[in-house]
């Protein structure tokens, strides 16, 4: 408990330090506005609805790419799992997949799909899907043998075994994949909007940066940070429950 308290104190102290440095002018206003001002600015832009369209586009794209990568990754994972020779061939590629800086393919998607949601979702899915494939393979690998044997003893059909035994047993691992897919979708969507696009929160931040509109810029940054932290905390709570269930 005291560790939690200490952590809160550390974070609050850091924010207060930044606030103080901004207020006494060590950090000039052109570089960074005070954290309290960021909150005020965020309230203003949310109330005025100036960026609602951008915010809606970004979060819709993140949701679409998360759903797509989870579904595609799960299906691909199941297929790869059921074909051991394919799996042997693909596994070395999966291991080095995340070494590739995926964003260098973003320009290729732009020439293929044009500037817009399609290329953004494509790059986000490309980034996220492999973590789901790996998590699915890992989950299916770790189903205890005894569970499948129990299913055989009960003479369950293949479909029933999959739904009642394999899926629940693999769920904690699958959820790790879901968590990673969410994180990668966030990064993929916001970063591609930021580099080159015509709409979205990432685009709005880049636009505000180019116009030196620090108020808008920091308000939007704060918004992203808050949303990501809340989503992560929520997913971690679910994750912890699932992991606890596994150890029971």
């Amino acid at each position: 408990m005291s560790e939690k308290l200490l952590r809160v104190i550390v974070v609050v102290a850091m924010i207060l330090l930044v606030e103080l440095l901004c207020r006494i002018g060590v950090i000039p206003r052109m570089v960074m506005i005070a954290p309290s001002d960021m909150v005020v600015e965020l309230g203003k832009i949310l109330a005025s609805g100036q960026f609602s369209a951008d915010i809606r586009i970004t979060f819709t794209n993140i949701a679409i790419s998360t759903v797509l990568s989870v579904l595609l990754g799960f299906v691909a994972g199941v297929i790869i799992y059921s074909l051991p020779s394919l799996r042997d061939a693909i596994e070395p590629l999966l291991a080095s997949y995340y070494a590739v800086p995926t964003f260098v393919f973003y320009p290729i998607f732009i020439t293929l799909f044009g500037v817009g949601s399609a290329s953004i979702i494509a790059i986000a899915v490309l980034l996220a899907v492999v973590s789901m494939v790996t998590a699915t393979l890992n989950g299916l690998d770790r189903i205890p043998r005894v569970l499948r044997k129990t299913g055989q003893i009960y003479r369950m059909s293949r479909v029933k075994t999959a739904l009642l035994i394999e899926l629940p047993a693999a769920t904690p691992y699958l959820f790790t994949g879901v968590k990673l897919s969410v994180a990668y979708s966030f990064i993929g969507v916001i970063a591609s909007e930021f580099i080159l696009s015509g709409a979205g929160v990432g685009y709005a931040i880049a636009y505000a940066y180019n116009l030196f509109e620090n108020g808008h810029m920091y308000a939007l940054m704060l918004l992203v940070l808050i949303v990501v932290t809340v989503v992560n905390t929520f997913l971690n709570v679910i994750d912890r429950r699932l992991q606890a269930r596994r150890q029971r």
Partner: protein, 247 residues
């Protein structure tokens, strides 16, 4: 049949299939949207023959090497400190994982405003990506280290720096290499995103300027070069890792 083949043959077949897919897509959408594998390779060869391209490569590499060196030494040092001091580690870990999971691109304007346009902003941005994973992996490696190692170093009355270099470092090296592999690719990604957004030189800059003038073969040649570079480095580190664990 397939069971008799060595593992690498299957991987090779998958790579061939990917290449065929690439060629097929090229035929489907046309050369102006997607360059063919041969076009890409010949474009890459002609780019590599020109001196100007090497200036951009060296610019990116300078930023990358500096950022990676800072992430590597900073991350391992920080990880060891946080791993040895239990309380500090427990307090810092959730903060670090939260920082790790935020999309750091949104903070890039802040980096640019602090460091100005230029190589130092790119380095700082690369470090932001690479430092935390290396720290987290090193920290967890120390926490999971067998307690007997530390007790032995206490019994032998080693100084903190002696025990760090002769006991702790060798014990946690394999785990650190996993962190370093992740840190390597994230640092590269950070430097490239930095260059793609705001820069006058470097491979990332070449990529965005190629979009603006619609040079698809240049884009694909650079993407190919970076992919080959990243995958080769990763494979080397994995081989080193395997050698260590089979020791």
């Amino acid at each position: 049949m397939t069971a008799l083949m060595p593992r690498s043959a299957g991987t090779f077949l998958v790579l061939l299939a990917l290449l065929a897919l690439w060629q097929g897509l090229h035929l489907l959408v046309g050369a102006s949207s997607l360059a063919s594998p041969t076009q890409t390779v010949s474009k890459l060869a002609s780019l590599l023959a020109a001196g100007e391209f090497w200036l951009n490569i060296s610019e990116t590499m300078r930023a990358f090497v500096a950022a990676f060196a800072i992430s590597l030494f900073g991350g391992i040092a920080l990880g060891i400190v946080l791993g040895v001091r239990k309380l500090a580690g427990n307090v810092a870990e959730p903060i670090l994982t939260t920082l790790y999971s935020i999309p750091k691109v949104v903070l890039y304007p802040l980096v640019l405003l602090c460091f100005g346009l230029g190589i130092s902003a790119k380095i700082a941005f690369g470090v932001m990506h690479g430092l935390i994973p290396i720290t987290l992996f090193s920290m967890n490696a120390i926490r999971q280290m067998k307690p007997v190692y530390r007790r032995t170093s206490q019994v032998m009355r080693l100084s903190p720096s002696q025990s760090a270099f002769t006991v702790i470092m060798p014990a946690i090296l394999p785990e650190i290499i996993s962190g370093v592999r992740l840190g390597f690719s994230l640092t590269l990604l950070g430097v490239l995103i930095g260059e793609m957004f705001a820069s006058q030189r470097g491979l990332g800059f070449l990529l965005t300027s190629a979009i603006n003038i619609g040079q698809i073969d240049t884009i694909m040649a650079i993407a190919l070069l970076l992919t080959v570079f990243a995958v080769t480095c990763n494979a080397l580190m994995m081989r080193f890792d395997r050698r260590l664990t089979h020791r």
